[in-house]
Symmetry: C2
Subunit: 410 residues, 2 copies
């Protein structure tokens, strides 16, 4: 077997970014059903938004210079020459010395260049007293000020959040070309693992928890999971079942295989799926050191550690990044981190990144992270926690009261 | 019309927490389909997890005291008396002076109290050299150490994240009682608003953007949205359409009505739906001051400001909280905030909370927020942003380089 050097967390992220390609298949989706999909083609604006000059307030459309010199003590005077109706082209025009009432969102009448708010003037029998001077363009959104015809509104690789859907809707776009939804295959291995639905355990057996945590995370990331079941510690059977699931999915996830035999198998099974094969075999991280990342003919394969908490932490840190790349998403950032103060000293080893489960609380306007103590095999440590404290590999632990980066998981 | 005093942001949150009740209907869901639902009944553990003492490492099960005094220079000696198979009850026992091989996750044999890692011993023809002394319980997870039979694992009101699903799966729980999915009705009003699918706009018309942004946020929160369409600025029609949608949904959202007429209607329409009626009418916040919150016969009603960015910000800040309470979720926290440094001075008024769209970036290990300048009517300001900077009502602006709270939206 090839010899692999354990990678740092940073090296692992760099390798993922270098190696994982986007899937090629795209689909056309209704805008309304495209939340969290990734754009596969840029979107160019085919018209201006708004398509006309609009008022941003309730007020009177005027020529700004007709208000110059107006103040509370020395009001100016204009003649009200009509009213703009919502959704309609104004019939009245603004000329020197006149004003036209316009509601918020209404179209500016010809001749006007600004809107004086109703709070700053008074309409006395079509004589408008203006108590303030305004500048040209004040309280107006110009045609094309939000989106300009011909501009690239959204580029390829953009994740469609609610605001991107809104921006697309403003152009009347009803369908978008996106990368299709990913399908990930999940396979558990281990003679002691039984389906979680098993009502009564025999002694020595453990239910397949990781399936629920991994599928739950995948669902949060808009990824479908195909359950490949549980495979016994048998090399030939493992390889065959892994291959079948690999063929069906865009990415294969193998959950641990914690017996020595299975550990040996896992790498060989992954290498058997295709080239270039394993590119990370072990990460200098705690928990989760025995993580495997591979690429077999453009499809990523992830070998997770078997302990439930380790598996979940590794999948959250690196699995999410693998899947974002595979989805075609532009991702120029690490997972989001909060800064919080740590409630106690935690020692750690230089050269290894530590991720500590913790609970956030607020005290006097500051965030504090209270570490949850517990072995990495305990799922309840994750239930009690709502974040991960990150101690990077350059640090020898953290001191009570120190500001540290924290990854929330609510 | 009743007179309402504008509320502060804090007062608004307090009122929401006091007034919004949880819906009463619950349903039984398969565990696999329960992600992000809220538990309606506490879950008590009916068995221990794990159900047996397990090894957390590959090693040899021993009596700890048989290793006392062992060291690299003075190894101890034990006789290897067998091997534990994964998922099976050990046939071998550990007695004084013997050791039994046990893989990670394997069941501890009778007589043993700890496991010495393979790295710390050497098996030479069934003679085990131990190079380290270990303590009782070392490298072992005890039966019930993760979850103890009879304990309340999860309380009513818990949101089911992936780790909660995992913990429930570890007990073999296949179905859970949760509050049913919320259904929210969304109704737009305004003579200038047309469906977003409208291909060609007449001058003065605007597409219904808010529907996409509001429905997108609701989808992120596991809430279904029923689209009530767009209603003209006509009081009777508005009241009738609002009532019909209110009857059908658990919560009604009205999107603004930016003409003066519609503004007057909205409060009256909401008051007509039932008691106790409006409890927030205006918030000292920018943007989004004209927000309305009401409760009509146990159903919340939210009147959003009409500008797209304002509507989205208000719905994110207060709408999410309303819906979490309505879902039955325990929520003892404000929306999550990151601390970041601000790139420029921003003035603001005492007594009013300001929410500024901004973009986060990392520089020399610190997070910085760069404000996006733009009118609140511009949806593209939200597209360009990935967070909201919060300037609380006690502050008169923030200074360049100051640490400020930021709500991310990725």
């Amino acid at each position: 077997m090839q010899f692999f050097k354990v990678k740092t967390v940073e090296e692992t992220f760099t390798l993922i970014d270098e190696k994982i390609p986007a899937i090629e298949q795209t689909e056309i989706r209704e805008l309304f059903r495209a939340l969290h999909y990734i754009l596969a083609s840029p979107v160019t604006a085919k018209e201006n938004v708004p398509s006309f000059d609009r008022s941003t307030v309730d007020g009177y459309a005027v020529r700004a210079k007709d208000t110059y010199g107006s103040s509370e003590s020395m009001p100016g005077f204009l003649t009200v020459a009509g009213e703009v109706k919502m959704g309609e082209v104004p019939t009245a025009e603004v000329t020197q010395g006149t004003a036209v009432y316009v509601p918020t969102g209404g179209m500016l009448p010809k001749g006007s260049d600004s809107v004086i708010m109703i709070e700053h003037c008074e309409d006395v029998d079509t004589l408008l007293n203006t108590y303030r001077q305004i500048a040209p363009g004040e309280n107006v959104i110009r045609a094309g000020e939000d989106i300009r015809e011909g501009e690239i509104l959204l580029s390829r690789g953009t994740k469609l959040r609610p605001q991107e859907l809104g921006a697309l809707a403003s152009l009347g776009i009803t369908h978008v070309t996106v990368f299709r939804k990913l399908k990930v295959g999940y396979l558990s291995s281990g003679d002691e693992i039984v389906p979680y639905q098993t009502e009564t355990l025999r002694e020595g057996q453990i239910r397949d928890i990781n399936y629920l945590t991994i599928a739950g995370l995948a669902q949060e990331w808009n990824v479908e999971v195909v359950y490949g079941g549980i495979v016994r510690d048998d090399f030939a059977e493992f390889r065959e079942r892994a291959r079948a699931l690999y063929d069906e999915a865009d990415c294969l996830i193998l959950s641990g295989g914690s017996s020595v035999g299975a550990k040996d198998y896992t790498t060989d099974v992954i290498q058997s799926l295709g080239d270039p094969g394993v590119f990370v075999h072990g990460i200098s991280i705690k928990p989760g050191k025995p993580t495997i990342l591979a690429l077999a003919n453009e499809k990523p394969v992830i070998g997770l550690p078997g302990h439930p908490a380790s598996a979940m932490i590794i999948f959250k840190l690196f699995g999410e990044r693998v899947l974002r790349k595979l989805k075609g998403e532009k991702c120029d950032r690490k997972p989001e981190r909060i800064l919080a103060k740590i409630t106690k000293n935690i020692p750690s080893s230089m050269g290894r990144a530590d991720y500590i489960r913790a609970r956030l609380f607020e005290k006097e306007g500051e965030w504090w992270a209270e570490p949850i103590i517990g072995k990495s095999g305990l799922i309840t440590t994750l239930v009690k926690s709502d974040c991960l404290v990150e101690i990077s590999s350059e640090k020898e632990g953290v001191s009570q009261g120190e500001w540290i980066p924290v990854i929330p998981s609510r």
